[in-house]
């Protein structure tokens, strides 16, 4: 399986070694880290939730699309779930290819599509004790909305 949802620390070096091939002359990796702020709010932790089965199936589709569109040798992605601290690696993408252009393009494609399509949700815990789901208009503590 090349796309993985994991509640354990992402083993960056071990994952990178799985991309190595004699035909590859380039390796591009992306690490998404938990940062301490978002849209003006001070963030002290993040919590990720996913629907693992559908996330993996959609993630594998994205990796297959990348292999089809770009001249690459191997591609993998791993995304964390659960509670993460500032500085933790939340998502990792790695691509190997004969040449760097395809590796950069495929890596960018995989992380962009993953963020848009894979059922993973991010809850930010703020320094002031509040929390909120990123990108969502629905709020647990909001007065009942009446969309018609």
């Amino acid at each position: 399986m090349s796309f993985k949802i994991s509640s354990n620390v992402i083993e960056l070096e071990a994952l990178k070694r799985t991309l190595v091939a004699d035909a590859s002359g380039a390796c591009v990796t992306f690490e998404g880290w938990v940062r301490d702020h978002n849209e003006g709010e001070a963030v002290h932790a993040l919590e990720y939730e996913s629907h693992a089965a559908i996330a993996v199936s959609e993630g594998e589709k994205i990796l297959a699309e990348a292999r089809e569109r770009f001249a690459i040798d191997a591609a993998r992605c791993e995304h964390r779930v659960g509670k993460l601290a500032i500085g933790d690696c939340a998502v990792w993408v790695g691509v190997s290819a004969a040449h760097r252009g395809a590796a950069f393009d495929a890596c960018r494609y995989i992380i962009d599509e993953t963020k848009q399509r894979v059922p993973i949700w991010k809850k930010e815990h703020y320094r002031d004790g509040q929390s909120g789901w990123v990108n969502c208009a629905t709020r647990a503590d909001a007065p009942a909305a009446a969309p018609r």
């Binding site: 939730e49 789901w133 969502c136 629905t138």
Partner: protein
Amino acid sequence: MSADGARASITVTARYFAAFRERAGRDAESFTTEARTAAELYAELARRHGFADAMTRCKVAVNDELAAWDVRLAAGDEVLFFPPVAGG
């Protein structure tokens, strides 16, 4: 459904994730509905629970497969409602 267009009621299970689960105050619920499609069911649930996200930004899965919003629902379906995703 009868020929005069009257709606048949079916019993389905809705499952909620992330912001939807917190807003609804539950993981899942079964109920009887006249909704014929996932889109109609979302509209009904948005009214019931106060989901504020535009349907076009959300996703739906039926029986553990991602589906189009106009998918026809059948009795016994499990319908999963995904609020806007935010991986990375």
